[in-house]
Amino acid sequence: MTSSVVSVENVSKKFCRGLKRGMLYTVQDVARDMMGVRANSDALREEEFWAVKDLSFELKHGESLGLLGTNGAGKSTLLKILNGIIRPDIGQVQMKGRIGALIEVGAGFHPMLTGRENIYINGAILGMTKRELDAKFDDIVSFSGLSGSILDAPVKTYSSGMYVRLGFSVAIHCDPDVLLVDEVLAVGDSAFRVRCSEWIASFLKKQGTLILVSHYLPSIRETCNKVIWMKNGECLFYGDTIPGLQVYQNAISQPATAIGSVETNSPIAIGSPLQMTSIKLTDGESENAILEFDYGQPFALEVGVNAQRDMGGVHLHLVFSNQEVGAVCGWTSRTGRPEGLCFPQGQTTLHVDLGEQALVPGNYSVVAYLSDLKHLADYHEYVGPQFGVRPHAVVDSRYGMMMLKGTIDA
């Protein structure tokens, strides 16, 4: 017996775009099935496309896989195949143990019935017995955080967040060995999300296996040790999370969307006496470029500047943006050097030591600006490299921190 809990071998699935033609194909396939004739699975018929193509991976106990990809990449289809809702056309999937799936939270809820009744129904659909449910009922309710009066109201009166809380709570209490989660937790409020991520962490510690679809990359970074990047049904990357996220991000991000695009790096500079030519991120000690920092690790920037002539009274400004939430912090040379920076004609490299950062784990980009003393005119705007921040192993790194430079009068 192999030790893998989830084993996916060369799985492919095709879908048909046309509704009517799809019906025809279904009838054909069903007829073939019944006559015992194997369908010509690996050929595409008209209007068909591969929703998942030739995907293979394996997961062991305690491993967690993140599925990356833009909308329509085939992530949800893959989850449905793993859950056995739809069959692969080619290949095979083997799953060990009880499978919990949150493809859509609260899918089993009946809107007319109360939360209490729905716990029992949803639980039964997920494979729990009455006795199991009786025993776990209080846990389910307390995890969901719904109060008694809400529990006795029909779920159609619930908010979407309450729906998700109850649904997730029921699903995790069926003690799954493998949990499939499809981008559902984002609806809950922050307190609930924290409870969920704590639960997932303990689930993985107890050797559970998780497959997570999320567009919120920090949560993938936080929970998954492997990722698959899918595009048009095909696997473009399969491997460890950090390199995977980097590859994925470089591919999907129109560099620094909110602030400017790469093209602005040179055109704006036409006629400008100052031009930045490079930005490198380091740990402040070695020369090596680093694209992945630990939470709390010191970091530094090396900015290459090319001056057409001798320039003085120039300020450098840096803006750091989190890919999810936008600009989060900045730095300016005004504070430490009110008189500005001087650049002799030619190439100069600025070393900016930023010290310890306390950025929320996630993906960041940096944009640098050169301006005159009054910050009236930007000489140049330069989009620097993207980098990531890993969660700290010990320190709680869910919250970013800004250290206030206060003084104490004793």
């Binding site: 879908f15 799809g22 019906m23 279904t26 009838v27 396939d29 069903v30 099935d33 019944m34 015992g36 194997r38 369908a39 699975s41 449905k80 195949i81 859950n83 056995g84 809702i85 739809i86 069959r87 692969p88 056309d89 080619i90 290949g91 095979q92 999937v93 083997q94 799953m95 060990k96 143990g97 009880r98 499978i99 799936a101 493809i103 859509e104 899918a107 089993g108 009946h110 007319m112 019935l113 009744e117 029992y120 129904i121 039964a124 659909i125 997920l126 494979g127 017995t129 009455k130 029909p154 060995d177």
Partner: protein, 286 residues
């Protein structure tokens, strides 16, 4: 679904043709699944049951109202000689109500089952569980309504001072094969409706005509072309059998009834097998 239960953990294997079991193994798998999911089926039944009339004023009256109105209409048509049915062995309203009670078990059973998969599309496309349970639970609603209508029937017996033969107690036995027939057809129509929504419409449409080809509002005839209907219409033997048990006290057409039973069981097994076989493909289209 090929599932082998190991000592500790359960391993499932999903392949392109994994569901195409052949021979007795497949049947054993189907029965095991049915047994293992009995609790879920019951839950789903209770769910439909308790949700059905929750936002309704009349509630369970809806289980008898359609039958009452139909009976009243036909009685009026009969009295005014628009529909001159003569020689019913019971007062006409009681006769129609008796036939209608049986017919509705079949008709609403089939209608409910047909909508069972499509109506639960949100569930089916998001959670993996045996879908037979949905159809069985939906059919269960029709059975429940049938029991409610029995009270109505009993009331009619009292009002019209009809004393049914004690053989009426055998009615459940006679109706069991009818349930098989309904469920078998229901499983098939649920599947077909999943692929082609027209099926739901067709069934409703079909049932209206089907009722007139069944001896519900007129007594069964044993002569001429109408006698042929007693055999060709698979529902007829059961309606006739219930009428026989109530009025005569024994079956007058045991041959037709036996044929009806065989047909019903075959239809059920066939419908169930086809359902099990094609369900994975159908689910993709729902």
């Amino acid at each position: 679904m090929n599932s082998e239960t190991q000592t500790e953990t359960r391993t499932v294997l999903y392949t392109a043709h994994g569901h195409l079991g052949v021979g007795m193994g497949a049947w054993r798998e189907m029965f095991t699944e049915l047994w293992e999911t009995r609790e879920l089926t019951w839950r789903l039944y209770l769910r439909d049951f308790s949700a059905r009339y929750r936002q309704s004023l009349l509630g369970y009256v809806w289980a008898v109202l359609p039958a009452l109105i139909t009976v009243a209409t036909f009685t009026w048509l009969n009295r005014t000689n628009v529909l001159p049915v003569k020689g019913t062995p019971l007062p006409y309203p009681v006769f129609v109500l008796l036939g209608m009670t049986v017919w509705q078990l079949f008709a609403s059973g089939l209608t409910n089952s047909t909508q069972a998969l499509v109506g639960a599309s949100a569930l089916i496309t998001k959670i993996n569980f045996p879908r037979e349970t949905l159809v069985i639970a939906a059919f269960g609603q029709a059975v429940f309504d049938f029991f409610i209508r029995l009270f109505l029937l009993a009331g009619a017996f009292v009002i019209y001072r009809v004393t049914p033969s004690p053989a009426i107690l055998l009615m459940p036995l006679v109706l069991l094969p009818l349930c098989c027939l309904t469920l078998g057809l229901g499983l098939l129509s649920a599947l077909l409706n999943g692929v082609l929504r027209d099926v739901g419409q067709i069934i409703t449409f079909l049932l209206t005509f089907w009722m007139f080809l069944t001896p519900v509002v007129y007594p069964a005839s044993t002569e001429g072309s109408k006698a042929l209907l007693n055999v060709l219409n698979p529902v007829s033997p059961f309606v006739i059998a219930v009428q026989d048990l109530t009025i005569v006290g024994h079956l007058t057409q045991p041959g037709n009834f036996a044929i009806g039973c065989v047909v019903s069981v075959v239809v059920l097994l066939l419908g169930w097998r086809l359902f099990h076989l094609t369900e994975p493909r159908i689910v993709e289209r729902i």
